[in-house]
Amino acid sequence: MAEDDSEWVVESIVGYLGSPEWVIPVTDFMENKCTVFDAEDENKLSYTEIHQQYKNLVEKLLENYMQEVGINEQQFLTACTSPYAKSKTLQVVFQPVLATDDFQMFRSLMVRKNMELQLQALRVIKERNGALPECLTDGVDVMTELQQQEMKILEEVLKKSKEEYDEEMSRRVLLEEEVGSTSSGCSDNPMAESSKQLISSSASSQEISTVKVNGKSIISEQRKTAAPEGGDGKSAAKIGSSAKPDCGSKTVESRVLPAVRAPVKCDEPHASSSPQTKTQSSSNQTAETWLEEAHREAGFSKPFTELSASQQEQLQQRAAYLRQQRDKLHALKREQQKNKQATTTEEPPTSPTPAPTTTPAISAEERKKLQKRKHLADKLKEEVIKK
């Protein structure tokens, strides 16, 4: 009797789990929420929230159904733990239910769903365009290589910038101690003199901000003079990029940072990045000393509190600046890669790949997404082939 009973209950539940009343809301939920589920080892905090929502949904659906049909919890339990329900085929059917209690299972369901959607999207693209756009098929190796290169450059830039920044900070502290006690002998540097004039002329306020502004003008002037010393075709690029760590370390800066310009062209960005940082760091140093002198001549002693306040501001600016720079780098790299592809692959593009000139700076995030998608697609392909 009990046997029959449980069999009936199981069959009824299995029937429900295959019916649209169950399938539609559950699939809807999964499709809507699966996009954040990736194959990374670490779980995002948002997964827990989604799992909780899923639990609520399943509970509600099952409860409604059981009420409708007249199954109580005890029946449900005995039915589902009966040997009949334990068969392999039924266990698969029960998976979405069991996933309420098993986060890992839930997670793998969601990850799989996400992959399915990605694969579907790929298929749709293929159908619509006849072939996958280049950016979604080959070139994976090139991309990862490029990315590695990018990372190297970024790391380099960040390191340099940090070094200079630290140096600058320590010098600042030193300066803090010196100012007030010693009035240094000024050099016969014309730049310093010009800055002195500037200081005296700007009678607007006796605040440090004037020094800051002056300091900045010195540095930008210095940059102009330093650039031709590079003496080669890349000098233009040097100016553009030397502006970057400069700003980062030029902590006196309190105004809007100068517009950044990505290097116009650099075939080996890694190689060109080191000389440029070298010249830039030296220019930065001289500018620094001038600034120091200008500072002494002006006879300002900076209140420490204000310094730390401006430091914070500078840090923010620095961060914003670096971000900007990174985006620029990304955009540049993309363009380069596009050009490369355009030259290497002679075949006429069957897919409407956007012309390289019409796609300006694709944001870093989009790029990342694209990369991830590609990776996923590869994985899927692999899996499909294996099957």
Partner: protein
């Protein structure tokens, strides 16, 4: 949230076909205490490439005929408010302390005492790992126990275990305590 599962969900909980006893363990502690390193060392995985946890990690470890599901949740200050979402149905709390980070002993003590007061952790045994004993500046476990006033815990089993998640020293001793304790408790 916040209360134990009721109704249908608790029924579903019983549906899982495993014969093994499953144990839910939550691994908490301040950032940089070594939670993920400990987790990976428990799972016999590489501990050299660990980055600060932004979310959470789960590993299932078989030990003493039980399946230990260990949840390691990031310890950064901004993540700590999420801890309490993971405490439901927890069988055991592992709390990890960086024994060399004396400056934050007070902070870690406060966090622990807040956890102890959580309703979901009522009576739940606590194992405290005094981690990073491989560092010369590490405080001995006894000193940390005193600082945390562990001797005042009367409502639960507790244990403090000196360890180094990097070298693995002491970790197994802690796991043995866990298994003995849970076997005793669940029977």
């Amino acid at each position: 949230m916040g209360e134990a599962q009721k109704g249908l969900l608790s029924v579903i909980e019983k549906l899982k076909g495993t014969t093994e006893q499953e144990v839910r363990i939550v691994l908490l502690g301040l950032d940089n205490a070594g939670k993920t390193t400990l987790l990976k060392s428990l799972a016999s995985e590489d501990v050299n490439t660990i980055t600060p946890t932004q979310g959470f990690n789960i590993k299932s470890v078989a030990s003493h005929g039980m399946k230990l599901n260990v949840w390691d949740i990031g310890g950064q200050r901004k993540i700590r408010p999420f801890w309490k979402k993971y405490l439901e149905n927890t069988d055991l709390l592992i709390y990890v302390i960086d024994s060399a980070d004396k400056k934050r002993f007070e902070e870690t003590g406060l966090e622990l005492s807040e956890l102890i007061d959580e309703e979901n952790l009522k009576g739940v045994p606590v194992l405290i790992f005094a981690n990073k004993q491989d560092l010369a500046t590490a405080s001995p476990a006894s000193e940390i126990a005193e600082g945390l006033n562990l001797h005042t815990y009367r409502d639960r089993e507790w244990q403090i275990q000196a360890c180094s998640a990097v070298s693995g020293e002491g970790v197994q001793d802690g796991m043995n305590w866990i298994c003995n304790n849970i076997v005793n408790k669940k029977k």
